[in-house]
Symmetry: C2
Subunit: 210 residues, 2 copies
């Protein structure tokens, strides 16, 4: 976005702040959070290291701001999800999980950095949990509804099941994105995950319409 009209000697504060965030997201795409120094962020935004502290109080604070944007996006998307589980349970679950995968993948750098930072930073941990919690709430509501209408068997607490399955997704996707071993082919991830969800929620291979 170019500055038109009278040339101001200074770039505005907001632009600087944004430049730091843009730099951070770009650098996280190519290397790990620990390997990005505040010097790098400041340099990328065209300011000196002390000036960085005018905008953010630490490197973690930058990650937090980045994560916050992602979380906001996730919340909107969860809300927009169609809930056609009665008519097409397999399709509905697969689309939901696909969305989960999509969010992770499209913010790969931020996601993996946040997951790593979670162990160290309270605020990152809180924000991440909040997001996971929204996924868990969504899934356990649906599972509970499916159990209530007799489509899914009781015998397992809906919340416990939802937590376990969501954590599985988080972990498997991380493994795939980081090309860990053991992991599975990225192309098969969605299929495998949704199969496990369906089988463990409905207790059978083909959930009937009942």
């Amino acid at each position: 976005m170019a500055q038109r009209g009278r040339r101001t000697a200074r770039v505005s504060g907001d632009e600087r702040q944004d430049a730091i965030l843009v730099t951070a997201e770009a650098l996280l795409g190519e290397r790990a959070f620990d390997d990005v120094s505040i010097e790098d962020l400041a340099g990328g935004a065209g300011i000196s290291r002390p000036t960085f502290y005018f905008y953010f109080s630490s490197k973690d604070e930058v990650l937090l701001a980045l994560l916050d944007r992602v979380i906001t996006e996730v919340e909107h998307r969860v809300g927009d999800l169609p809930r056609d589980f009665e008519s097409d349970p397999v399709g509905a679950w697969t689309r939901s999980i696909g969305m989960f995968v999509e969010v992770f993948v499209s913010h790969r750098g931020v996601s993996t950095a946040a997951i790593a930072a979670r162990a160290r930073n309270d605020e990152v941990r809180a924000l991440w949990s909040k997001s996971m919690q929204s996924w868990v709430d969504f899934s356990s509501d649906v599972i509970r509804a499916e159990q209530a209408r007799g489509a899914a068997p009781e015998g397992i607490d809906a919340h416990d099941l939802a937590v376990s399955l969501n954590l599985m997704n988080e972990r498997l996707i991380t493994a795939v994105l980081n090309q860990e071993s053991p992991a599975i082919a990225e192309s098969r991830a969605l299929d495998v995950l949704s199969t496990i969800w369906i089988r463990s929620i409905y207790g059978s291979i083909n959930p009937g319409r009942r």
Copy 2:
């Protein structure tokens, strides 16, 4: 797997080396790896910081040695597991998963530190994968056998399924140990996990003896 760390032959400094490991395991029980400095390890072992480097080349090297011990224990235990899946599939899986849980829990500090260090350190990552791989191999062998004898349905690759379920275990147990949120009650973990394993491997709530 022998002799990580100090690679010179003589025996006399073994006590020191051991004191460092003991100190490390103790400190990892009370705080995070990042919050344990080399100074702390050296102090705990009654030596100065530079002397620490005579025994280990870095803090990560200590963690690696600790992890190596745990891995060795795991390997023995996996070998000793009874394989009575034909006669009592539910019990057999539950015992296997219970063992997995047990190993994690009994080496809580080392496990969580290793999981965190994995992102940063190649050797830790390699060692951890090797262990996970042995669990995955064990599980996928059994799943494949169950599918072959007709007890479990095809329709999902045994290896992909094994990877996903094992990663779920890793992640859920970590969440429970760290008291994350979302997580589930520690007392219910084994039950929930084995239910998900059974349902997704056998495609039904009660695997028949067939």
